[in-house]
């Protein structure tokens, strides 16, 4: 029969083995997570070159106003493209451009239209969109708004 001190020596050795194994696993998983974090950061940096951030307000005309701040959209996006990124859009296309008829299921009421505006930082006020939303190119930091307007 094994003596008490020897028994504890083997128990300690067994714990040493489990400690080594768990330390290995911890270092390995930490190393993997760091590797994934670096890949994610690199991907994010690449994404910076291919995308822009815009801020979009959607006013449904019934008191509901939703802001989509810091929305990442592809480079060279038009307002229509960006709107389709953040919402479900219904529209019709004419020779002179695209007319948005519904956003997230809201639209189609008589004498009520989806009009878009952009924020003029120099004048510090909202301006009416001068062209169809499919022809307005967005730039990084642009602030735009869709307002369901009745006449």
């Amino acid at each position: 029969m094994m003596g008490g001190s020897k028994l504890w020596m083997w128990v300690a050795a067994a714990f040493l083995c489990t400690t080594i194994a768990s330390s290995y696993a911890a270092v390995n998983y930490y190393s993997q997570s760091e590797s994934y974090r670096r890949d994610y950061q690199a991907l994010l940096e690449d994404l910076e070159y291919l995308t822009i951030f815009i801020h979009m307000k959607i006013d449904y005309g019934n008191g509901t106003v939703v802001w989509h701040n810091s929305t990442r959209v592809p480079l060279n996006s038009t307002l229509l493209t960006a709107t389709r990124v953040v919402s479900s859009v219904e529209y019709v296309t004419f020779d002179y451009g695209t007319l948005v008829t519904g956003i997230n299921g809201v639209g189609g009421d008589p004498d009520t239209f989806w009009l878009w505006h952009y924020w003029d930082p120099e004048e510090e006020k909202w301006e009416y969109g001068p062209v169809g939303s499919d022809r307005w190119m967005l730039h990084d930091g642009d602030i735009v708004a869709w307002i369901y307007t009745s006449f």
Binding site: W10, A14, L16, I20, A21, Y24, V27, S31
Partner: protein, 189 residues
């Protein structure tokens, strides 16, 4: 008669034969498991060789196995790494031999309920020996490849885990079985 006493009776030619047979077993199982990286029966066989036939036989089996397997290796040949693995592998045989001398073999020839404890001790020894082996060979590999040792150790962790855990299992299941089986063979049963 204990295994240790019996093995002392083998003559030089028998000794050479034993080394050849055990080396052949190591090499053949290595190639058999070539697709399973770092999971090999070699370490167990080398350890048992040392345990039964003494440290010098164990070390010889380890070195000769790596001289064959390390030279004709599907993962490539590197002389410094071959030298390191030869030295590292011989550790299993030497420790096996020293362990048998220290305990006189009897405490490992158990059966019944205490067999579990004996096997657990073999598993612990196998795990720790493999840990030392992996540490040593990963450091040498890092130096040879010219990469920082920390990087070599970290990148080798998945392989080390597979190696150490599989060896712990192999030593638990196979060490006492092999010792007993070879002991009976030597006793002419």
């Amino acid at each position: 008669m204990t295994v240790a006493l019996k093995t002392a009776l083998i003559n030089p030619s028998q000794r050479a034969g034993v080394i050849a047979v055990m080396t052949a077993a190591c090499v053949s199982t290595n190639y058999l498991l070539v697709g399973v990286v770092n999971v090999k029966l070699m370490d167990l066989i080398v350890f048992v060789s040392g345990f039964i036939f003494g440290p010098s036989v164990g070390a010889s089996v380890g070195i000769l196995t790596w001289l064959v397997y390390g030279t004709l290796n599907p993962y490539g040949f590197s002389l410094p790494i071959l030298a390191a693995t030869c030295v590292g592998e011989s550790l299993y045989g030497v420790v096996g031999g020293l362990l048998e001398r220290r305990t006189d073999g009897n405490s490992y020839a158990a059966d019944g309920g205490s067999l579990w404890f004996v096997n657990a001790r073999f598993a612990i020894i196998g795990f720790l020996l493999t840990f030392v082996y992996d540490l040593y060979t990963n450091i040498v590999s890092g130096i040879v490849a010219g990469i920082p040792i920390v990087v070599a150790l970290i990148s080798g962790i998945p392989f080390a885990i597979a190696h150490e855990l599989s060896n712990a299992v192999f030593f638990f299941v196979g060490a006492s079985l092999l010792v007993k089986a070879i002991g009976r063979l030597l006793q002419g049963r």
